[in-house]
């Protein structure tokens, strides 16, 4: 019996390791609409590591803009969705490690109408947060600049406890913007908070029609002890309100212990796959990467 349990555990761990890469087969995916264009942003966070030394974390985000709906998520996830995996080139799971280090969520604005859905990760679980779509209060100010070849106008605005300085371009007539920044008379091409911690910079733009998708849960394989076969089961993401999630993230990622032990809050048995190869700075827990050491949490919204 013990041997069989060990075998099953080993099989599960293997499957879990194989499931590292996101794919359409691993999620329950619905198509919401087709895009008008996709904008790619370089998102950086200036923060400190566990030793207190300054570090800049960087990742690329894709903003897919459709009619009334737009979605911001990891650029590499977008590449996988549009079957341009070859462009990942590098370490295929590298972006998932960045997502973990930088706490990058998937934000879908306008679905359902008037709402915003955010898929957050607090390993080993993922949560779906639904909130009323809220626009920053913008003021157009003097000044202009060029981003990615587009002439942009300056504006600033308040959003959930932070002041944002942005550049938007009227050459791309949309109210969309990266993450939850939106509502200007043109695409937001550059945005930085007043402290200079978070920065979104437009680096690429594709005019294309591809689906904007929504995933309400994951599909995992579970070993059925009666039929002795693996079965696919749908596991919906956990639900949370905005207020609960804000508190939960501050309690976990904002905790001092998180820097030196990012698993400090986890209790009970954990299914851990230590990634091997030359990069052993991450653990793979419940389908999510967890860094061995954290970087200081810098929330995007304070209230």
């Amino acid at each position: 019996m013990k041997k069989a349990t060990l075998l099953i555990s080993a099989l599960l761990m293997t499957l879990s390791a194989m499931a590292q890469m996101p794919s359409k087969e691993k999620e329950k995916v619905d198509t919401l609409c087709q895009t008008k264009f996709t904008a790619v942003y370089q998102y950086t966070i200036n923060t400190t590591d566990e030793k207190g030394e300054a570090v800049t974390d960087s990742a690329r985000l894709a903003l897919q803009v459709g009619d009334g709906i737009w979605k911001t998520w990891a650029y590499e996830r977008y590449l996988i969705q549009v079957e341009r995996d070859e462009e990942l080139g590098w370490d295929k799971s590298y972006f998932m490690k960045n997502e973990a280090l930088m706490h990058i969520a998937t934000t879908t604005v306008g679905y359902p109408e008037g709402k915003t859905i955010i898929l957050e990760s607090i390993p080993p679980l993922r949560y779906e947060v639904t909130e009323d779509t809220e626009k920053p209060t913008w003021t157009i100010v003097e000044g202009s600049d060029s981003v990615c070849g587009y002439q942009c106008q300056k504006a600033n605005g308040e959003f959930r406890g932070k002041t944002w300085n942005v550049l938007y371009t009227e050459d791309i007539p949309t109210v969309a913007g990266p993450w939850k920044l939106q509502g200007l008379p043109g695409l937001i091409a550059f945005a930085t908070d007043e402290e200079g911690i978070h920065t979104f910079r437009l680096i690429a733009l594709y005019q294309e029609s591809v689906p904007i998708t929504y995933s309400s849960g994951s599909i995992t394989e579970k070993f059925n002890t009666e039929s002795l076969h693996f079965e696919k089961i749908f596991v919906p993401y956990g639900k949370s309100s905005y207020e609960q999630m804000l508190k939960h993230k501050n309690n976990v990622f904002g905790n001092r212990q998180y820097l030196t032990d990012p698993q400090f809050y986890m209790t009970g048995p954990k299914q851990i796959v230590v990634t091997y190869g030359k990069d052993e700075n991450y653990n793979f827990i419940g389908g999510l990467f967890v860094p061995a050491k954290g970087h200081k949490y810098q929330p995007l919204e304070l209230k």
């Binding site: 030793k51 690329r60 070859e86 080139g89 109408e113 949309t174 733009l205 030359k278």
Partner: protein
Amino acid sequence: MKKISLLIIALLMALSASAQVKVTGRVINLKNIPVADVIIKCVSEGKTLAFTSTNAQGQYTLELREMPNRAVELQFSHISYEKENVKLTLTEKTTEQDMVLTDKQVTLKEVKVQAQPIIFQGDTLSYNLASFLGKGDVTLEDGLKRLPGIDVTDNGTIKYLGKAISHFYIEGMDMLGGRYNLATQNIPAEYATQVDVMKHHKHRKIDADEESDDVALNVKLSNKAKFKPFGQPAAGIGLREDDPLYALGLTGMMFTDNFQLLGSAKGSNHGNFGSYDIIDHFGNNDISTLATDKLGKWNSARPPLGEYLYQTNAYASLNGIEKMDSDRQVRMNADYAYEDYNSSSSTNTLYFADGQNISINEENRPHTRLHRPMIEARYENNGNDRYFMDRVNMKAQFEENECPVIATDVNNQNRKATQLAISNYLASTVRMGENKLSFNSNIEFVRAPKVCLNMNSISQTGQSTTITTDHSTSFTIRLGSKWRISLPVNLTAYYNMIETSLHAPDDAILGQRLDGWVVTPWASPSTDWRSPSGKIYMSIGANLQWRNMMYRSRFDDKKTTMSELFAEPRLSFRYTFSGTSEMSFHSAIYNSVGDILDLLTTPVQTNYRTTSMASGVIGKNQVWASSLSYTYQIPFSYFTLTADAGWTQGKRNVLSSQYVDEESTSTASIFRDSHTKNANANLSISKNLLTLSTKLQFTASGSWGSSESMSQGKVVTTYGNSYSFKGQATVTPLPWMEIGANGQYSRNYTWWTGNHRTTDGENASLSLSVFPIDKIEIKGSYDFVRSQITDNQYKNFSLLSASVQYKASRAVWKLSLNNLLNTRHYRYTTFNATDRYTMDCHLIGRTIMLTCKLNLVKK
């Protein structure tokens, strides 16, 4: 009071509301469907007064703070519709304005994502190779040469910031050890997606908490190169000085997550085709035996530039590695190499000979044939808490060497030598709580059964055996998280035997047989400390050796013994300013003690005119070496800087002596102290300009030194200093053009009692590649050297080569035209203390070669 305040606020709010003006409406398209997210802007004299957007029902409300005093323009824009403008004169507080939009796709200016050229994470720099590749690059080595901070030397050694790499991994697996040229010369550049440079690398996981200065490279491959075998057949034909040339090669590889295989076989009678592929950069290529060290093979002078060896070479290599799990790996490597090469050169040697200035002219025509088989098996268990490795290696070298020398007469020389080596190396470490215990064992048997030299009518033979056993154990104790004490203990024992025999006509046979043991127990206690921030690292330790020698000369039954204790203190210090900037200092005293060859007092003839005799005194050499180095890099500016300076001074208990006359040269060691001193400094800067696909490098170096020797019975102290500057640039000014340029200037001063000498040299090279279409590269390269031969005589030297390369999807065709100017001689001068050597090397003439390399992989 409170009520009054509330009343005032209510009044103010009412007044404010009365000042606002609203424009409302609904936006639909031609199909009468409401349009969401239409941007509505109210503009007056080019200034935006207000803006809003429509909701899902197409409705909008635009609010202005005050009534405009003139007409305004209402602009409706949406990415899927024609932009519409309406002029309005607002007189009412609420105005309604609906709009019908006409379909029209707004065309956006597309901008593509550029891959991030560098990712910098901790001690690892990851280069996206495609960001750096040039159009003409074919092999992985071509790509590595483009990366900032990385240098690849002529024989393929990879260096990062001037430091040779300690490990070469492909997808995290070390299949080739030091034979990584097999990968860099044969993996197509386009198959490698990422190159990781890992600084402070620790190959053994158990050493994760140790300090390390090692640098390792990991190459990640594209999916095209994974999970399926692919091959690279190559073939070529050509013509050189009316002789036909051929080249034939086949390389096959397979890379999966747990298994890697690389087999390669190449043969050619032209140049370097395949000859560098199985060089072992970690020094495991050559076999060193006492007999072949003493009775070495004859070579001609090697020119710094130009092809001079007429060589035929062939090799076959099979390498495989299997990852059994995340810790355990088994590796097999087997090679066979054959080399046949000949060359010729003339040498004028001007021996100072205490002012006699004896001049000797010789012409050498060496011809060498080598056979080198090798097989190695290695098992490694690289766990976090335990490490075990066992490596068995067997190799042999069979040499035949002829070297006729034309001086005043023709002197015939030939030599045959056989060398064999078998070794087993075992290393193990276990973690015991916070401490570690290691045990290493190396057993090696090296034998030269017979080395035979025939020089005119003189015959010199030799044979030797060396058995080495080297066992060490170490224990590391942690004192808190920052302090550590290590105590390695080692026992090394050698058995050495050498026998020589000199047969000269009409003379008695002069021979000697020596054998004996060297047993050296040693301990190397050390302690190191790391600051809590990790920025400061210090290590202090000492090697304490007790060296015991017991040698016996069999013919005269003379015994030589030595038992002496040596202490070698050492100090290391490193300060890390940041992840990109670091300074380190090392200082140590080293002792080396001569070997059995110091007791070879019977004359040994090494060529037709040179005999050597040892002093019979065991040589002892003590060196104090210190170095200070600084490295600085700005990864995202692709800038690296390294600077280092060093000081070395040494003392030997013997002095090298030379006696020269017109007929012969005798070398010996005299029992007298001699001293050497050396100071050197180097600076190297590298910068990549990605927008121009340009790599710039600059290096400067200078040195000063002194040494003592004996010439014609008199002691001479020689001083010298030298400096050199070198600049290299690879520039792509236009998408279809690439220019490579480098230049070097060097100057040397040498002086000794009443004499001095100055020499300088300049060389420059220029290459131009033109790509009329992406797949075709037309390249021309020109080298120019101006070197000083004597005080007033300079010699200019030029080489011109050209090539045309066509990269098809499955094949790379290359037509090479080498030495188009048919330059046949290269003259240069070097110095050794007070003696001057002027060499005239024969170069290979005009050569034309057509090669084709195929990629057999599914696209």
